[in-house]
Point group: C2
Chain length 441, copies 2
């Protein structure tokens, strides 16, 4: 019985997979790649002695397992951090922004320590035992909930990005930063756990003329914002956990709102109050700020949705191709996202937009979530103008810079979703060149 069990275990792994491997090759996305390999021509030959006996960390005991009961990154990763910049702050460190190192990000989860942060009055340090959430106004049973009471509701877990509507704002007047982190790092993505707002509203009952909701934080800035009830009843969540643990203080500990796909500032941190009414509030944050100034001098208000967008994350100015040799295979990779739904397809151009080919969508493709795309080429050491163009499942496609500015001018700082172009030089350097008209490379 014992031996037969061993044999069974072994044979349960499909033997066919090994045979198949010898029969067929793996197809890459570009059919013209031919017999190329991802191996660098300079790859070392196997050196058993060096590998097996000379690593200094392999000849002594490591750290004890109980050294870090809450773990931290390797000391060698000290450069993978959030970054601030004077050009993008409001003049002080309290009402400011700290950008996510998205050039170092992988997949569709941002670790909590690197999630981008935008504060209007600093990071509030909230005592969860003193925290309360009030839901009132045009509801049948106004309530105040403690954190324990909130967590009694059945929980939901979803992966969503959050993006500041000012993401990419310096680019409206031309390329400013030769950096992906400073250009598009006002966004991150996480697994959020909490309760669907509609579940609570079922318990307390909405009045029939409740058509607007005010969300307000308990920090000194409070950041009041008006949200239509239709959205609140659709997919809005009240969350207490991010990537499997309690929210971080700078993300609204202990409780924040998640308004999937809509402007980051609507995802109220340190949430204290939801009020329902038959009229919108026209708060400071939706009159003097978070409006979209057009060339006419008039502003668009209540522009909530982060439109379909994408950017190539590898290469990027921080991750150039200077180490590549002529004729090597290389993966072009990036992020696409849409506040309206799911990414349908992403096109890649190597010549600044004259020709487009469809990229492969990699991994999970979820609504209102980062989606990874990939396209593999053999780089011949020639200059390129690399661009990506995403389309979502409501049929919206990213505009060119000219298409976008012809509609709203260059006075806005919000909701930029024009196609981003990187220049690859023949040395493999990668530069931010926001070309206004697409031309032959």
């Amino acid at each position: 019985m014992k031996n037969s069990k061993v044999v069974k275990k072994s044979s349960e792994v499909k033997e066919s997979s090994r045979r198949d491997f010898f029969k067929k090759s793996i197809l890459y996305s570009a059919s013209a790649i031919g017999a190329s390999s991802f191996l660098a021509p300079t790859s070392l030959k196997a050196n058993e002695k060096e590998i097996m006996h000379e690593a200094p960390w392999g000849t002594k005991l490591g750290d004890p397992v109980n050294k870090n009961l809450y773990g931290l990154p390797s000391v060698y990763e000290h450069n993978n951090i959030r970054r601030t910049h004077d050009l993008l702050s409001s003049g002080d460190a309290y009402a400011s922004i700290s950008m996510c190192p998205i050039h170092e990000s992988e997949g569709i989860i941002t670790p909590n320590g690197l999630f981008f942060t935008r504060n209007h009055g600093g990071t509030a340090q909230v005592d969860p035992n003193k925290w309360r959430l009030m839901i009132h106004g045009k509801v049948k049973k106004p309530i105040v909930l403690t954190l324990d009471e909130l967590k009694k509701y059945p929980s939901e877990t979803r992966i969503h990005f959050i993006e500041c509507p000012a993401n990419g704002s310096p680019e409206w007047r031309g390329p400013q930063f030769n950096s992906l982190q400073f250009m598009k790092g006002m966004m991150s993505s996480a697994q959020w756990t909490g309760v669907m707002l509609k579940t609570i509203l079922k318990d307390i009952g909405l009045e029939k003329d409740a058509v607007w909701m005010l969300a307000e934080g308990s920090d000194n800035a409070s950041n009041p914002r008006t949200i239509p009830v239709e959205k609140a009843l659709d997919d809005v969540m009240i969350v207490w956990a991010q990537n499997g643990e309690a929210l971080r203080p700078e993300q609204g500990y202990p409780v924040r709102l998640i308004v999937p796909g809509w402007e980051g500032n609507l995802n109220t941190k340190w949430l204290r109050r939801l009020e329902f009414s038959n009229k919108p509030w026209h708060s400071k944050e939706e009159t003097s700020k978070y409006t979209m100034l057009q060339e006419s001098g008039k502003a668009i208000r209540y522009f909530w949705v982060n439109e379909v967008n994408s950017v190539i994350t590898s290469p990027c100015p921080e991750k150039p191709w200077t180490h590549l040799k002529k004729g090597e295979l290389v993966e072009i990779e990036g992020l696409a996202w849409s506040g309206r739904g799911t990414i349908k397809h992403v096109d890649i151009s190597l010549d600044g937009g004259d020709n487009w080919v469809e990229a492969e969508l990699k991994g999970l493709v979820l609504p209102k979530s980062w989606t990874r795309f990939s396209y593999i080429i053999k780089w011949e050491g020639k200059p390129l103008l690399l661009a990506s163009r995403a389309t979502d499942d409501v049929g919206h496609t990213q505009p060119t810079i000219d298409e976008e500015t012809s509609k709203v001018g260059v006075e806005s700082v919000y909701h930029r979703n024009a196609i981003v172009t990187w220049e690859i030089t023949k040395k493999g350097e990668c530069n931010n060149v926001q070309i206004r008209k697409h031309k032959k490379a």
Copy 2:
């Protein structure tokens, strides 16, 4: 144009969702719940003054945005940590285990700081510039790769759990720990990014008689383990990132193996070498250890797969129902997983296994990944014996304790997947009672 744009934005949110809300109620999983609510009868009434003006953190500036360029948990979360226990260590802090607080986990992602850790010789601190990976033996082109060379390969990102085969081992001889963390915390789940091993093997070519692979770490313990080539060519990954950032030191920084669904110790950390052969290695780690001792005195070797399993995470001994009032609604929630594939369904028993009802699977349901299940009841303040029983898509179902011990006895410390039972007392306390025969509650 501007005004029409605003109107369009607003109306794009489905008005129907608001109308539907007033027409139909949300259905919970138990049809007999009736008109109950998740609101505690003790819920406070709305107190605008207290909520809006008396939170101490709302009357001053918070911390500056650049205080933590790599963020940390709230100081109030100091109790959400990994934990070690003398009973589960090998007598020192180097060859030991640190368990994940899965009673505090949400969703299917474990934050990197809380991922369970099992070391054989301490946590190696590896210099990524000095790290090398050798792939040799029965391959056509043996190679040594630097980290940069490895990262040139096209990346894949997948969510998988890792489970130590000793997870739950103290329970073989009866209930030992009144704690979910100590009972089932030798597992965690993450988003892994790296290269599929088969992609590299395509480049370097396998010899036709390569049927076994040795994986070895560069730490002092090296932990050599034999893996069949069929698995290596199926879904094995060489990964450098976990939840969007570099691996943590205690998870094998800079590079580890991911062998989805198989014993945690096969997921070699600080990976230095993969060797291919026509024979298995029979290393110390697969002869003296990681074998399954049966009552006959004979041991099962090469038992790789973590079989279908589940546990209720709320309630659990750390999260009892002592705060619940008679007649309140409450969500029973838990984790199910299988190293063979995808969770197909999970059944719940309230009476120690006499009767079973099907739970709802919540959120993402992915292969070889944690899957959340949920079942909502109205608790009438009576004692219960709560159990969960998962079935995967190859048709395997968790055994009862009697079924499991009748096959392998109680001498093993590995691969326990018998049904777990919690006792709920009339006061709402939750206790670990691993009942051997299911009886009427």
